[in-house]
Structure formats: structure tokens, C-alpha cells
């Protein structure tokens, strides 16, 4: 039976400022969804809310995986239920080697009831698996010995996110602008990597401005977000249209949300984009 990530009428505030205003979305294992929308429309907010960032407060609505509500769970518990976010800006953890970090992560995700201090997966098996995955993603095995994201280029960080995705094999993966800030070669590597990984066992939500990632990973559903709501849902051709023509047509079709978007931008002041990091 395929799993279901169900988001129902989700309202989210950051520091008492409402950002999401009623988002509903169903993602099944095996499906690929694209989430598009102008800056500040709430895409990243949705991603952070799903993984349980403490700054993002759910004021109403629900997130469930197969009927289990996530609202009260911390990010660790959500991850162990099979949720994964490829971060837009992966943080550096100085002094922590990629291999040590991944061995802990893989152990916890595969054995969700593991307590601190209990044994890790055998080193030999882990090494073999890590090496295979790194080769598949065209990564130098030397990365495993480096400190997590320390001194990594933008492309290396994004590839590291995809490596984690490959090792953790989540049921639901959210990719928050994994293709942004990359040159076209890096986008190709990341896109191909994702295509190999996504399969019938993974539901994918791709948040993107670009089309490239979607060329390799054709979405069954494209959602457009404006002012904290999903205002349109279509298929891959909607993504194509947005990429070519921008959001002017969307704003015309949804004048109420477009007006709200303008209000918000004014309130935030010049040069500041609400909801972005």
C-alpha cells in the first residue's frame, strides 16, 4: 500500500505574521509534484513547516503521514517517519565528518525506535553502501572524510543533500530549490541523481524556479503558490508555461491573492522578500 502525505488547510505564522493561509496538498509515494511561485509566496515556509522548524508555527490545519498527525512531532520524529528535506541552504557542522554523520542518520532512520547510545549499523556494510552511492552520484569518496558542508561549494552542498537522500531513502522528499545557484553541469548531476533515486517508493515535492530539474523529473502535478495559498494545480505543461511566461497571467487570474502579495511586499519594506531565507 502506498503511503500518503496529507496536508489539510494549513495555516502557518512566523513571529505572529501569517505566511501560509490554507494550503492543502496530497502527495502519494511514487508521485512527483512541482511547487512553483514567485519569491515570498510561501514555498520555503511550507518546506520548513513540514520538517518541523520550531520558528514556523502551525496556527491551524494538519499534516499527516498515513493518518499519523505530525503537528506535535519534532524534526527527528518526522524524519524517522520517512520525511526528508533537501535544504536550500544546508548548514555547516564543523568538525563532524560526513561519514560519521551519515552513519548516525542512516542508523536512526532505518531503526526508528533506536535510543541514543545504542549501536550503529556495521561499519563495513555502511562503508560499502556509502561508496556505491557516492560513485553513482559522481562524488569523490574523499568527501566522506570531510567535515559536513565545511568549505563546500554551492554545487557540492547540493550534491551532499542528494547523497543524504540516496542513503536515507525517505518515503517523502522535499527539495527546496535544490537547483538554485548551480551551473548547468551541476544542475544536470543533481537532476539525474534525483531521477535515479525517485521511484515508486518515494513521493517527491520539488520546489523550484527553474525548469531544468523538472525536465529530468517530469511532475504529474504542478502547483502554483501565491500569497500563501496554492492557487492553481496543473500538469507538467503548467510548469512549462510558468517558466516561459512568468507569473503575470497567474496574478491576473487571481487578483485577490495578487493584491495580498503586493500588500505584503509593501509591509516588508523595499528589498525584503517575505518568507525567503
Amino acid at each position: 500500500m502506498s503511503s500518503l502525505l496529507k496536508i489539510t488547510d494549513l495555516h502557518v505564522s512566523v513571529e505572529d505574521k501569517p505566511i501560509l493561509k490554507g494550503v492543502s496538498l496530497d502527495i502519494r509515494q511514487g508521485e512527483t509534484h512541482a511547487l512553483m511561485g514567485p519569491n515570498g509566496s510561501g514555498k520555503s515556509t511550507l518546506a520548513y513547516t513540514l520538517v518541523g522548524h520550531p520558528k514556523y508555527e502551525v496556527t491551524s490545519g494538519s499534516i499527516e503521514i498515513d493518518g499519523t498527525p505530525l503537528n506535535e512531532l519534532d524534526p527527528c520524529e518526522r524524519a524517522r517517519l520517512g520525511l526528508f528535506l533537501a535544504f536550500q541552504y544546508p548548514v555547516t557542522i564543523p568538525g563532524v565528518k560526513v561519514a560519521d554523520f551519515l552513519r548516525h542518520a542512516v542508523t536512526n532512520i532505518r531503526n526508528p525506535v533506536r535510543k541514543e547510545g545504542e549501536g550503529l549499523i556495521p561499519m563495513r556494510d555502511f562503508r560499502k553502501e556509502l561508496k556505491e552511492r557516492m560513485e553513482q552520484l559522481g562524488m569523490d569518496i574523499e568527501f566522506a572524510r570531510r567535515y559536513l558542508n565545511e568549505g563546500f561549494s554551492g554545487g557540492e552542498k547540493k550534491r551532499m543533500e542528494i547523497l543524504q537522500l540516496a542513503m536515507l531513502q525517505p518515503r517523502f522528499a522535499i527539495l527546496d530549490e535544490t537547483d538554485s545557484g548551480l551551473d548547468s553541469d551541476a544542475v544536470r548531476v543533481v537532476s539525474e541523481g534525483l531521477r535515479k533515486l525517485a521511484g515508486p517508493q518515494m513521493g517527491v515535492l520539488i520546489i523550484t524556479h527553474h525548469e531544468r530539474l523538472l525536465e529530468y523529473n517530469i511532475p504529474q502535478f504542478t502547483h502554483v503558490m501565491l500569497a500563501g495559498k496554492i492557487v492553481e494545480t496543473g500538469d507538467a505543461s503548467l510548469a512549462h508555461e510558468l517558466h516561459n511566461q512568468g507569473y503575470a497571467a497567474v496574478r491576473q487570474r487571481h487578483p485577490h491573492e495578487a493584491a495580498e502579495e503586493q500588500e505584503r511586499q509593501k509591509a516588508a519594506g523595499p528589498g525584503v522578500v517575505v518568507g525567503a531565507h
Binding site: P75, A79, R80, L85, N108, E116, Y147
Partner: protein, 472 residues
Amino acid sequence: MTTDVPVLEDEIGVGDYQYGFHDPTDKYVFQSRRGLDRAIVEQISEMKSEPKWMREFRLEALDIFFRKPMPSWGGDMSQLDFQNMFYYVKASQGQEKSWDDVPEDIRKTYDRLGIPEAEKKYLAGVKAQYESEVVYGSLQEDLSKQGVIFTDMDSALRDYPDLVREYFSTVIPSADNKFAALNSAVWSGGSFIYVPKGVKIEFPLQAYFRINTQNMGQFERTLIIVDEGASVHYVEGCTAPTYSSDSLHSAVVEILVKRGGRCRYTTIQNWSNNVYNLVTKRAKAYGDSLMEWVDGNLGSRLTMKYPAIYLMEPGARGETLSIAFAGKGQHQDAGAKMVHCAPHTSSRVISKSISKDGGRASYRGLVKATHDAHHCKSNVVCDALILDSHSRSDTYPYIEVNQDNLTIEHEASVSKIAEEQLLYLMSRGMSETEASAMIVTGFIEPLVKELPMEYAVEMNRLIELQMEGSVG
């Protein structure tokens, strides 16, 4: 207590410090009365059958101790009651060469601390000090054949009187500070090491210090002489039972590293949280030698310790790596002193401190150069990590330089565990505790990787224990 199982403090709810158990004391050979005066000092000297010069040295130091005021800086010592302490406690008849001959209670304690096991695996020699005296000692035979001396300080005074008299108190005079004076008056135990010219000891020599009695004062006195071109790595570990009232550990460690010699002194201090740890450590490094302090302070209520290196001749190098962890009710006031007394000398200090649950970690350091110490280099880096808003970190760097032709660099950083780092690790399935521990382990990794593997593992394990249950 007459059971043969040491009392586990955990069972009576004292805390989660792993080494907080204590042994029965009813079979002890001797215990001085509480308090400190001339009679006690004379009694200690008498029991040890010391030469007259040492007795006089002690009594003179006692006068200095009484004359000197308590330091007005550093940590809070207002609860420290010198007259409530036991200054000399002898638990067994003498030092044994086999663990089988060590009294059972004491042997079991060292078993629990893993000393005999470590000795088999990777140590060249061991001294185990229990209360005031060394109860067990060993040294690999080939080392003693090469003329290496590794014994306790009391035996050294008896067996190598000339060597001891030549060097004793030449690096740290009694009048150096109040606690050096105290140690000089009532010292007992500690290690004496002599490494002859050109002898390089491959595996570490380890001393293990254990306080068992409540209100105990432990005052070991260590003297290490590394002759020309020789090298040694000495490691000390310390633990004590958890009691509701305080004990005092006040050691003096003197080291001489002669031309081209090398000495590394590693401390993994894990006293229980009722121990005042007020220690004076100083080394003199001569031409082209290298002296290194690796100083890990995890335990104690208050530690005040600033291992010093006096760079005496050109080419001498000094290095201090310091890790301090201050948890609930703890104040680690630790650091380093580098004194450049000659031209073309160099020093480096790397300090990492972590404070959590209201703990306070201070870095206090001195870099000094005398007027003719030109072309010297010194580099000091202090990083502090604060785990929560009610913990504290301070940095007190002092620089005293009397001339221009030298390079001194000082960098300091203070950071908090970022919410984004916790989120990142937790979103990969780590619990909050696990994530914090991982960030802390990473923070000290640049220092820990300098340690031999066994000690790196031990250090990481202790840090993890400190981190357990620290969140939520």
C-alpha cells in the same frame, strides 16, 4: 559500610556522574586529623621518614601558605574550608608491583576505572595514586634497563636523593602562589620521571589519581626531567566519589625539557563536582625542545589551572591544547601561560571551551616576552561554545611584551549552537541530545584528533556522557 561492593551513588540519587562511587575506609592504615598546622606537616614528614631538608622545606612553605592571601580573582572559593580537610590519608601499606597485592576494595575501583586493562593494551608504565599515596606502580622492563625512572615522588626522594634535590621546586618555588605553597607543605605522592639522554619512550606513561575520602585533600607532587634528545608522553587521569561536601586537589607539576627533548603531558581531569581543583603546572623548555600540554578539564566544581611553559633558550617551542567543559554548578577557569625568555622561541595555544546548564568556562591566558626575547612568535586561538542562555563564557587574555621584534596573534570566538544546525541534524533523524552532542564533538574535534587514539575515544566518550540528559 562493610560490603565488598563499592557504594554506587547513583542508587542513592546523587547524580549521573559515572565515577561517583566510593569504597569503605575502615581498613585504612592511617588518617591524619582534620585541619592544618605545623604538627600535621611534621607528622607527614615523620611518617615518610624524610631527610631534614625536606621537612624544613615543608615548614617554610607552610608559613608562606598562611601568610599569602587567597587570590581575589578567578573562581569562588568562599566555601573552601582549609581546617575541615584531611591532609594525609594512607589507605594501604605500600606500593605494589602486582594488582593482586593491592587491597581488594582499591583494586576493584581501578578495575572499574579500566586502568589494568589499559595498562595491558597501550601503556609503558602506570602509577595509581589512591588518597595520599601511590598504591601500585609498574614500568616496562626494557625502559628501566635503559635508565628510565618512573616512580612515585616519595620513593624518588629516598632512592634518588641527589636528582630530586637538584631539581625539586626549581621550576615552581613555594612562594609562587598560595596553592603552590600549600602543596609544598603537605605534598604526598605524585610521579617522578627521569628520561635519560636520547631515550624515546614510545608508549605513554600513565598516572591515575583517585580521591576516595570525603573532605580529602590530595596534594601530589610531580617532577619530570626529560634529558637531551629524549622524549616522553605522560598522561594523568583523575576521578573522585560524589559527596555533598568538598574535597580539594592541589597538585604541583614541574617539568624540565632539556635541549632537543620532547615532552607531552596530557590531563583528562574528571573529578566529581564537589572537588576544588587548584593546580600549578609549569615546564621549562630549553634549546630546540618541544613541550606540549594537552589539558582536558571536564570535572570538578572549580578548576583554576593555567599550565605554563617557560621558553628558556632559542629554538624552544611550547604548545598548549586546552579543552574545558563546564556543566551545572561548574566553573572551569583554565588557560595557558607562555613566557618567552629567549629569542627565536615560539608558542601556540588552542583553547576550546563548552558551557551548558548554567556552567561557566573562562579562558585565562598570558603571553609574555622578556626584553631580549626578539624574533619570537606566539599564536593564541580561543573558541567558546555556549549551549544555552544561562551558561557563560569569558576570555581574559593578558599580553606582556617588552619589545617590538616579535609576532603575537590572538583570536577569540564565541558561538552558540545555532537553531539551524540543530534543525539540520534533527531532520536527519538525530534526537536533540544526539544532535547537540554531535555539534559539541565536532567543535572539539580539531583538538581531539591530536590525541592518541585511546585518549581521543575516552575524551569523546566523556563529552558524550556530559551531554547526556542535558537537553529538554
